[in-house]
Amino acid sequence: MSDTNLPADLPSNLPADLPRDAGKRLAELKNLFTSDLSVNEFLLIKQAGFHPLGLVMGSSIYHTGIQTRKWSKSQELTKLTEAMYNARELAMTRMEEEAEQLDADGIVGVRLDVNYYEWGNDAAEFIAVGTAVKAENGVSHRNKHGKPFTSDLSGQDFWTLMQTGYVPQGLVMGTCVYHIAHRGLVQTLGSVGQNVELPNFTQALYEARELAMTRMQEEAERLGSTGIVGVRLEEKSHQWGSHTIEFLSIGTAVGDTGGAVTLPQPITVISLDN
């Protein structure tokens, strides 16, 4: 189970077709920008030399297939992993397409959500929303693949990151849906009354997280990044029951601009208010 390959058919199966409505809305965004940034974030983005262009989003409603799990076997459910990955990738790609339509350099404050609806059996909606930005001095900040960078950093984090001489290159993620074996009767009886480590569980949870993180790192390497900041590790059972868990690892890959950096000295304050 050390196969860390990403779902193979990624770039090919992504549609380049945004709904007509999306094109219409973006075409109307000329002298106006929209943004879900707070005022603080908006002003800091401006201070960092960027201008918000518009709110961009992508979504995909995805039906996840069925995969049989063995009751007593711990294993990755590759079909579900693939589904979760593909669906998010679809949503993110569409968001990037919207950003390209606005001729953006990147997208900040990206949020990834999963919605379940009552009418959609086994289907979930994956949404990506963020604010497309463009550098005011005309220098391109696109990533190695010529695509707008994506990042889930807040305006404050974005500004601070730029001060340190790094630039965001892309939101990278890795996921792994894992089925954790139920304990057999004999095992359970064997450990009754003993508080001992349960090595099978340890190993399963360990491996699942490692897989998710490795995949994320591989994505970052493909972007030629120096590192990943703000990594979050999320565990969700979605609608599969307690023994099937998705481990999602997500963060912003950053690259070093190589320029000389003089970081301002932070000021310490004690706030009495809370």
Binding site: N40, L43, L44, Q47, Q156, W159, T160, P266, I267, L272, D273, N274
Partner: protein, 381 residues
Amino acid sequence: MADSGIPGGVPPDDERVQQDQVGQRPGEVSETGYEGDLPPEAAERLSSSAWSSGLSVNDFAACRSMGLRPVALVQGFCVMGWSWYGAGSPYMYRPGYGPAMGGGTGGGFGGLGGRLPGTVGGGFGGPFSGNYQGGGGYGAAGGSGSGAGAYGRSRWGSTISSYNCPHYYAGMDHRSFGENFEQRWVSDVWSQGFNTAFARMIEEAEAAGAHGIVGVVHTVSSLIDRSIREFHVYGTAVAVEGAARPPSIWSTYLAGQRLAKLVEAGFTPVSVVASIASVRVWAVCVTQALMAGGYQTGGWSAPTGEVTQISDAQMQVRRLVRDHVKSQIGADTLHGADLAAAWRDIGEGDYELQAVLRGTRVRRVRPADPLPPPKLTVRLV
């Protein structure tokens, strides 16, 4: 209606009140005209040498740095009867109709009947009597044209806006007249309950030798019975070391740092202020039809669009409560206002809207000294 959003507000610690000891009545302390009607237990508790406080540690620290010393957790309590138009209520419209069933709306519509043009009033007696005890009164008062005089709408409310049927149609089920009216009895009873509880809290603070009360919390609950409202106002009484006995005691919902900022900004808290307004909606045919999806018995339909009677009521109830509060604060400022409203279905085409507004009445005692304008900073946590 439990308002406990103020940090530092904790439920009063009743265990500390020794029920079996009889203390002295603090009746003598009253210089402000309040009757000394605190329970003896309160005086006993307040005369204890240990102080209690509902303040958080931060608020406590901020109070100390301002020179305020907490002296006691003080409270005032008042239970009011809250029967709609039941027998014995001063708002009852006519003897013999109460206690009314189903919320007892009879009295209300007796007054309403008086507003009706005599020509259509007669047609109303029948259909409503099934729903409301007071239905008969509705018709009768309407029929006589001026029947409300003796029982005066002013006794239970006053019309704010009225709505007439555009259909020139008077059927049995057809509501050809509607109005929004203020239910004054609600604000009267509520104010009486709140003010009495408040006055008792002030009295407790006086007994404790305080100068002011910070971090006030008030709740209005209905724990015992729906026909009863319990008003509870409590806070931490504070004193200024070495200061003379105050001519009056100030109170505020604020505590700690925010109080310090308020004082630094040139304000002084005067008192906590709270009021309620209640607007009753008696829907005209068009409103009633729109609320039911556009259709009315008889097959006619109303065009969809704004339901002006409801929009009006939503505005009226908020404006009324603001006016009530403004009439209490004079030229002072209401700081940190909190406006909450609730909607209630009483019956078919009969609704009530209530709004409560509360805040701290503050007075400017010195001109504001503007602080430097804000700067952008990024916090590294």
